[in-house]
Point group: C3
Chain length 341, copies 3
Amino acid sequence: MNRFLDLAQFERAQIIDLLSLAQALQDRPEPRALAGRILGLVFFNPSLRTLASFQAGMARLGGSSVVITPGQGTWQMETRRGAIMNGAAAEHIREGIPALASYCDALGVRAFSDGKNLADDLHESVFGMIDALCDKPLINMESAMNHPCQALADWRTLDELEVPQSGKFVLSWVWHPKALPLAVPAATLHMAAMRGMQVVVLRPEGFALPAPIMDKARRAAQQAGGSVTETGDRAAALAGAQVLYAKEWGSTTDYGNAAADARLRAELSDWCVREPWFAGAAPGAKLMHCLPVRRNTAVADEVLDGPRAVVRREAFNRMAVQMAVLHRMLAKPAAVSESIA
Amino acid sequence: MNRFLDLAQFERAQIIDLLSLAQALQDRPEPRALAGRILGLVFFNPSLRTLASFQAGMARLGGSSVVITPGQGTWQMETRRGAIMNGAAAEHIREGIPALASYCDALGVRAFSDGKNLADDLHESVFGMIDALCDKPLINMESAMNHPCQALADWRTLDELEVPQSGKFVLSWVWHPKALPLAVPAATLHMAAMRGMQVVVLRPEGFALPAPIMDKARRAAQQAGGSVTETGDRAAALAGAQVLYAKEWGSTTDYGNAAADARLRAELSDWCVREPWFAGAAPGAKLMHCLPVRRNTAVADEVLDGPRAVVRREAFNRMAVQMAVLHRMLAKPAAVSESIA
Amino acid sequence: MNRFLDLAQFERAQIIDLLSLAQALQDRPEPRALAGRILGLVFFNPSLRTLASFQAGMARLGGSSVVITPGQGTWQMETRRGAIMNGAAAEHIREGIPALASYCDALGVRAFSDGKNLADDLHESVFGMIDALCDKPLINMESAMNHPCQALADWRTLDELEVPQSGKFVLSWVWHPKALPLAVPAATLHMAAMRGMQVVVLRPEGFALPAPIMDKARRAAQQAGGSVTETGDRAAALAGAQVLYAKEWGSTTDYGNAAADARLRAELSDWCVREPWFAGAAPGAKLMHCLPVRRNTAVADEVLDGPRAVVRREAFNRMAVQMAVLHRMLAKPAAVSESIA
């Protein structure tokens, strides 16, 4: 495997294989599998789980990591093609990414959208450039519209919880003080659809997911025997649901318009998940969230601290599935000399 | 050992055992003792010695480290229970600490007091929450009122210098431009008392250590055959002293009141340790400081650059004693599979 | 080897030996050569290639690294002798450097000039103090007036490109929004001179390199059979050149005077390398730059994205040559116990 950028680039059977490998590595650790291998981790945006779980996962497989944070200890980086660089950025990704790739055996890159141009973001214009510049294996640690490591970890969590493959999965918008990217909702939706679930996207007016994201998920659902629908009706959405996946995101009708987004969300502070939301849900329905989560604005303490919340397991599973991805990418018995020549 | 939070939670004999292990690991290195083990280092506050010595110590034992700095590359974290998180913090320690613990075999956490509420700080309210949230071994890398790694390193330094166990140890307040926490003075006082020394706390008016700290140290001194007293009289305190341990801290009569603290310390700039302070001290009396130290405001160049200063040895001993703590916590022959399951 | 601070401190034959070792380590990796060794990397200034390539290089040799960034997660550090430390810096290098050296087997330090006092910078006043404070092997990762790792990597790149030892090498000033240090131009000039090349320094009025730097390079050229000249005439300089090495630096006639420097460079925006610059150059002439490079202000896209640019190879060679330096410094079979005692 040379790229891990989007679950949609894999067959369903390949994903299930990766999940099996994650379990195998947990049952029978391979503490030297990646000895001598080096993973470069490039964070254009903050991280806790991704930063820690990739480093810990590499170490558990015997490899090493190098962390680069442009703008913090490292030069701020330009991404625009043809830019006349007389501003704050001292380096262009056209130099920076190939240099880092040349030192490492694989790169992981996190590059959030700046939330300004929906077409560019749907097209993954920045991550596409990074992809083209990296001649080593590459992992998407969250791009404008994707977060495949989170999606894979969540799939594993659903399997561990024995949520039926055809179970009802509600992806619900929740409140946040500002517009957040669409990467996690898009990746979560696709994962649940690809798993074969009955997926409902629950969101207020102005926050429907863009048609290309919905359509892509519908095609995945069709192949897997599931479905994808959307609604603004909370009770209808949650009736009989096995899983409520809470996530914050920005307005899509007013993408890139912070003032309009703020006006829309000013009325939506009741979109904080509380126990009564689960009144009509299936018995033992679960609350999922990719973290970080803002308590008592996105999800209430009563839910996060209760038995429904499985967010800690989701977080742990980040490391578990990433170890499988790294193992598949880097555990081949290539001579080290080749990797640095 | 599952917790290293406070020297007071150990018997004197256990501390001496740890110091013996530190010496043994220096004499006969065990470069594979912690192979495959991962230490998560969480810094809510800046660090030089702690950051470098824990990473180097883990590496010298064959293990790995992951560094997390909330607010710098990682989300700013909330610690208050029940907080409505609509401000700067994107994540609560209730999610962040368990996630990190799940990736690692042990955590070290640094979380200074914000210096506002003395009762909360004496009660270690924040570190107590972290302790409760961490289901892996945990090391206090400086909390509101403790710094056991520094205290253990200083104990080792006193032993190396052959300072008699019943020697006179003066912990003196020194000047600093602003109020600093009580963690190091409290831990140092307790260490010297537990070692059995004749301890004198030398401090100006308004800077007496809180009664619970003094009382706890007096109980330790009583058990070990030493004593704990306090005074504002510099000459009396230093008469015959073997050790002057210089440390900056904030006003305790006006805890959390920056303006009142500033007024008090405005008159105290002569509390900068200079050579004449040692006029009545024992021959060869030593100057100790946990570092970082501000030269020529807290301690003068003439002392730091002279033969009395043993601050570099104290700094080196941080690594030496922490390797013993890590070894005791993590060198058991548990199957790696258990540690990540 | 205990110090790697300046190519000028080595014989030409020793440099060629180091380059041979770099090639040998690439051809026959030694993934355990530095097992148990720890490199401390201290960055007073930002970095991408240095930060990543030293960590990756240590890992490829089986060793570990610890990164310290004063002012970011670590205390801000004072360097002035005799300073009364009542400002922002909490720690002096007189304590900080020895502490870090005591944890590690070698240190690498980056400490740019602040560009205020030319005599101090030519004398390496800050790096000289760091050198004196470090009782372990020390690598200059860029000081006020030197960057030997970059110079060594560039020498390797010239060899790989089969640029004749007596070829014509033009070091040209290029535009940048502000004054940058003289470290890279000084180190590059010396490297090319020491390699035996016909070196021309091409620079506008006000930006001539200081006489001590030119004189030192002339002596090296004389020994190696090359030459060092300077000019402001671009066409003359580039006529027949095999290599154009582009670099930004600050005014030397107005060193430390930001306003005067800004006035001088306001008229010099045509000092951006474009394809026509190479009109009279040798066929296949190369463009070199140490990176980071500002596109379309220092060097145009058309050059950086064309076949002349060898900047990615220069970047890769940073790791290759640094592995040779680290191997020579640390691969001796000393007992680990000695290194921490």
